[in-house]
Symmetry: C2
Subunit: 221 residues, 2 copies
């Protein structure tokens, strides 16, 4: 264990190429979509020939699956933990939204392309569709919990979750789309924007924001 940890299965030098493939592929997927991106495009962005990709990944699908893993595993874990925190649902939802935006923004990848229906609805990606679905349902449950404990307005949970997810993805898309990220703290902006829309009493927002970040979470799975 003398070397640092690598998410990639290649501890040798040249693992840099593998990483670069993931970064460039995520950008292309975000802009042109998975099916709109040719492996030649990825290879060109990386600076290698097209067949060289297949030394690092068995096929195109494996590339996008690694991005899906990164995009879903940690948020799923966090959602599960947040769901169990002994707090009003308003605080827990704040925390989840904040984390999710932060996670997507801090990522080396532009993950806006891998959440689209064109992928999730394909039979090959059934497993990932399930995971994304489970995550959505956890958020819906959080909204329902807020109805019970009175911290959230009685909004339709599915509709609310869909609005939240849509906001989040579009923010990330914009942030990655070149122009310098706005001067505001984006995760906080998104979390507060969301909470204003669903809070039972808007005047509680400051204390919700503070309370939300108070309790610790496990750092990893």
């Amino acid at each position: 264990m003398t070397t640092s940890k690598q998410a990639a299965p290649r501890p040798t030098r040249g693992a840099a190429t593998r990483q670069k493939i993931l970064v460039e592929a995520s950008r292309q997927f975000a802009v042109r979509g998975y099916y709109g991106t040719a492996t030649r495009d990825i290879a060109e962005a990386v600076g290698v020939r097209q067949p060289s990709l297949f030394f690092h990944f068995p096929n195109k699908q494996a590339i996008v699956e690694e991005l899906l893993r990164y995009s879903l595993e940690r948020p799923t874990e966090v959602a599960r933990q947040v769901l169990a925190l002994p707090q009003p649902a308003a605080m827990r939802i704040y925390r989840y939204v904040w984390f999710d935006t932060h996670h997507l923004l801090a990522s080396p990848y532009d993950l806006t392309g891998v959440h689209r229906d064109e992928l999730m609805d394909a039979p090959d990606f059934h497993e990932w569709r399930e995971k994304a679905h489970k995550l959505r349902r956890d958020i819906q449950e959080l909204v329902r919990a807020g109805h019970v404990d009175g911290s959230l307005r009685p909004v339709d949970p599915v509709l609310a979750q869909e609005l939240i997810s849509g906001m989040n993805l579009n923010t990330i898309r914009m942030a990655h789309a070149g122009r310098p990220t706005p001067r505001v703290d984006v995760p906080t902006f998104v979390a507060e924007f969301t909470l204003r829309a669903v809070l039972a009493d808007v005047t509680t927002l400051p204390e919700v924001a503070v309370g939300a970040m108070a309790l610790p979470l496990d750092p990893a799975s």
Copy 2:
């Protein structure tokens, strides 16, 4: 001029096929993306052979362009009109969001697939990218107007507009995704959700909602 108006250039019978092509194509584009959808898939859904599509449209791009036209022309026109109304910006933004959600939901097409970057960023669709961009900037201007007249909180206009657009599209996507539309009035839900997040004073929401729908707009361009 004895026949009723047709958006399509084919007043003969068999125009039904043309319409069906647009409907089915929009569905496939929403699910698999433009590049992920083969003209054979569209043809099969319509119930004709693949080359028959090319009697009604010169090529695949022309199909998606007609959907883009439907998706952007009226909302652009409405945004322009709303921008000029003598009202607080809060009311005008409410109205625009309500209209846009309503327009997308009432459409015979599932237009969630045609707004994606994979299309807009392609050189062939440059013209449409411009139109979409202009629409976004009108919304941003509306947010700024709200800062000036004091009806909206001083949120980052670009970020806010991006959140609004993201919400809207995801709602439509969900509504089209099979399951029976929630029992709530979706355009009103989305408009109120949005306004809560950006209103300077949330208690004014009821009067904003009423005032927003009071002034008349031109019915068509």
